[in-house]
């Protein structure tokens, strides 16, 4: 075994690469061989090469401290994560099922609210969700698609079972890193690529553009599509501009757009030009100061009125936040059964609700053992990891839960799987998750792999980039892995090309059965 892995410790976790100490899983064997052929210092040189290329290309995010923002590169780990074909097929079916259910839920919750009437989800949960938009009750979105772009965070538990940690149905970010990480890997490890059949990821931008055109408000063969960004000071600006460039469309800021006669126009050198579809990377709250937050300077006054009148479409739709709320998350497996009549292919993490009296009692008694999350926070903020917290922090959360029982959920500490990461000359095990990107248009498609985020700090379970996380390239390969790791619910099959329009019909016929 090569020097890199000589002192590698698997620990008491599921390890992506090693089945047992010194035993490499079959789909990682060629990788291990390639690394063992490497000369002294070669890995370090490759790492510096990759970092330099990220810096020169300006693939950076902005960190604010004090009055001057500094640009940093998102730490990149050169040891890829490999997902064999059979595991990926399982993930894909599970994610398509889940997003189909979420889109049906959103349509229902903004129309008949059958799911409430049939007591699957308490009305109170929906009504009190921070991002529920009752103003949009009865509003029809083009093609009934609410979440066009979804980033669903998956983890693997101690037995290697892929489990959903959360859904991101508002403005999921990070996909540009998937594409750039792949470019970097091809540059530094060309030979390794030749040894694996890695499924390509570079169709993403074209698929995204296809989705955006498909949901244009009128049957227009050449709709004008733009990316709306908060601006260059936004930490994800690189990604916004990357996507616009890759799709070959304009990137606009709020001040580039103007609304006249309930139509949205961009201000060009040749006058006003109408816009049909906006891939907006601005949250609901900031998109229109005349409707939502009055103090927003990022938005476009009047854009919501244009949207209501069907003159422009927004991706994702307004109000999708009710579906990725952390309390709603608890109900997603129930939704899947309710709307699709299927068992969930990908399970949720076991979750307790502070709003439920029995659960709350249990949570308050076990705060030191649980992970508590604020229902409406993201990015690793508003979170308590019981076993790693001080008494003070725990008491703070206890008070917060008692003050706002709707505001939190709790989960057991999930022992995220680990994967070797390069740390100062040697490989060490670090916790990882996976964020695949799901596109929902005429059909639902998923970019093979997704963003594998790594908690680079030793022992840390938090993979967010704002909290010291990095990423690694994720390879979906054509060969199968160990069969025993696939989940028991595989018999539930569903056509991958099923779009929401079909699913909609399906659910209606089901409702007659109820």
């Amino acid at each position: 075994m090569n020097r890199l892995f000589k002192e590698y410790e698997i620990g008491d976790f599921f390890d992506e690469m090693f089945a047992a100490p010194g035993v490499v899983r079959p789909h990682y064997q060629r990788l291990a061989r390639r690394f063992s052929e490497m000369a002294d210092g070669e890995f370090d040189r490759k790492r510096l090469l990759a970092e330099k290329s990220y810096l020169n290309q300006g693939i950076t995010f902005t960190v604010y401290s004090g009055d001057e923002g500094t640009e940093r590169i998102f730490p990149f780990d050169l040891i890829p994560r490999i997902i064999p074909a059979n595991e990926w097929e399982h993930i894909e079916r599970g994610l398509i099922q889940r997003l189909t259910a979420l889109n049906l839920f959103l349509h229902d919750v903004y129309h008949g609210q059958r799911i409430i009437k049939e007591k699957i989800i308490p009305e109170e949960i929906v009504r009190s969700a921070k991002h529920f938009r009752p103003e949009f009750m009865g509003f029809d979105v083009p093609k009934n698609i609410y979440i066009h772009i979804c980033g669903t965070d998956l983890i693997r538990d101690r037995n290697g079972v892929y489990t959903v940690l959360e859904d991101n149905g508002r403005c999921p970010s990070g996909v540009s890193y998937v594409l750039e990480n792949r470019q970097a890997m091809k540059r530094v490890f060309p030979k390794l690529f030749a040894r694996y059949q890695v499924r390509p990821v570079d169709r993403y931008a074209q698929d995204l553009l296809g989705v955006l055109r498909y949901v244009a408000p009128h049957e227009d063969p050449e709709p004008t599509v733009v990316v709306l960004t908060p601006g260059i000071y936004n930490s994800a600006y690189f990604e916004h501009s990357f996507l616009a460039r890759s799709m070959g469309i304009e990137i606009v800021t709020g001040s580039d757009l103007v609304v006249k006669d309930s139509r949205v126009f961009m201000k060009t050198t040749k006058g006003l030009r109408q816009v049909d579809v906006i891939y907006r990377r601005i949250d609901d709250d900031f998109i229109d100061p005349t409707v939502f937050r009055k103090d927003s300077v990022l938005g476009v006054p009047g854009i919501i009125e244009a949207y209501r009148r069907g003159n422009v479409n927004l991706a994702n739709a307004i109000g999708t936040g009710v579906a990725d709320d952390k309390v709603t998350y608890y109900y997603v497996p129930k939704m899947i059964k309710f709307y699709l009549g299927e068992e969930p292919i990908l399970p949720n993490v076991e979750t307790y609700l502070t709003s439920d009296e029995t659960d709350r009692k249990f949570i308050l008694e076990n705060l030191d053992k649980l992970v508590v999350k604020a229902a409406n926070e993201s990015g690793g903020y508003g979170m308590l990891i019981g076993p790693c917290s001080t008494k003070e922090e725990i008491e703070k959360f206890r008070a917060a839960i008692l003050a706002d029982p709707r505001g939190y959920i709790a989960q057991p500490v999930v022992l995220l799987s680990r994967s070797p990461s390069y740390c100062e000359g040697t490989a060490e095990a670090r916790h990882i998750d996976l964020r695949p990107y799901i596109l929902c248009g005429e059909k639902t498609s998923i970019i093979p792999g997704g963003l594998t985020r790594v908690a680079l700090r030793k022992g840390s379970l938090v993979v967010n980039s704002s909290q010291g996380g990095g990423s690694k390239d994720t390879w979906v390969i054509d060969e199968n892995g160990e069969p025993e790791l696939a989940s028991p619910s595989q018999s539930q099959s569903q056509s991958q090309s099923q779009g929401p329009a079909q699913a909609q019909r399906q659910s209606q016929s089901q409702s007659q059965v109820h």
Binding site: L55, S241, E250, D256, T269
Partner: protein, 321 residues
Amino acid sequence: MLARVADSCFWLSRYIERAETNARILDVNMQLMLDFEDQNPNMLHQHWQPVLATLEDQELFSKHHEKITPDSVMEFVTFEKKNPNAIISCIAGARENARTVREQISSEMWEQLNRTFLYLRDGMARADFQDSPIDFYRGLVDKLHAFQGTSDATMIHGEGWDFLQLGKYVERADSTSRVLDIKYHILLPSGEQVGGHVDITQWMAVLRSCSALEAYLKTNVGEVSSWQVAEFLILHGEFPRSIRFCANQLNNALHSISGCEAGYFSNEAERLCGMLRSNLNYTTIGAIFEAGLHQFLDQTQVHLNDIAMAITETYCNWMDE
């Protein structure tokens, strides 16, 4: 094209050109200083003060430095972030604009510019500067030329490109007029004659500042005189840094953007540019000297400012809504 994007292309290009001009002026002035044997503080002051006068940075300079010395001027014009016209500020400004129009320019252009920015921001540039300021400035000019070449070879020559040309030629015409005007600010040491040794050396430095010495000598074999240098830098039809050449390019880019037929105008920027162009096409160096070279250059700068304002007004004015 988005109005904001047009504005950013215009300024991106102006900043690049401005940084190049600064680097060139500092390089030449440094060399010129080495030609003079007498380096007492008073002489050095006289030698570097015109640089600040040319760049119109005197007031800000005196807020940051007590004395005009070679080091203080070079520091101020190269690395001083508080000076909005310093090379480092220009490159940062160019990059900031480029960041907002990355979908317009090519990745190669962006990377070339970004590398230059990182070079200046991180320690590398400072180390090179300390080794040899002259090599440092030349290296910098090379990097900026590489940006121009990359732009030419990788970007679609469409509307975005035309706005880059507008920025480049407005700024370049302005720079040439300022470099030429530098001679107005330099006092000949007492006892020196117009047309004497020092005078000629200074005019040659002016040519070098515009990378024009070799081209000039081909046109005016063996002779350097104020009259001919000014004629070359103002009126030459093919030299890419002459004011007339810049005005013609400016005019072409404007007409390419609007699609308006040559010889006519469809907006204020085209009208003003057409006037500047025909003035330069139909005047003589004799007429310019008769009216006063400094006055002529001053008017040209005002005229260029008016054109730049008219461009903004015509194409980018949505921004002020």
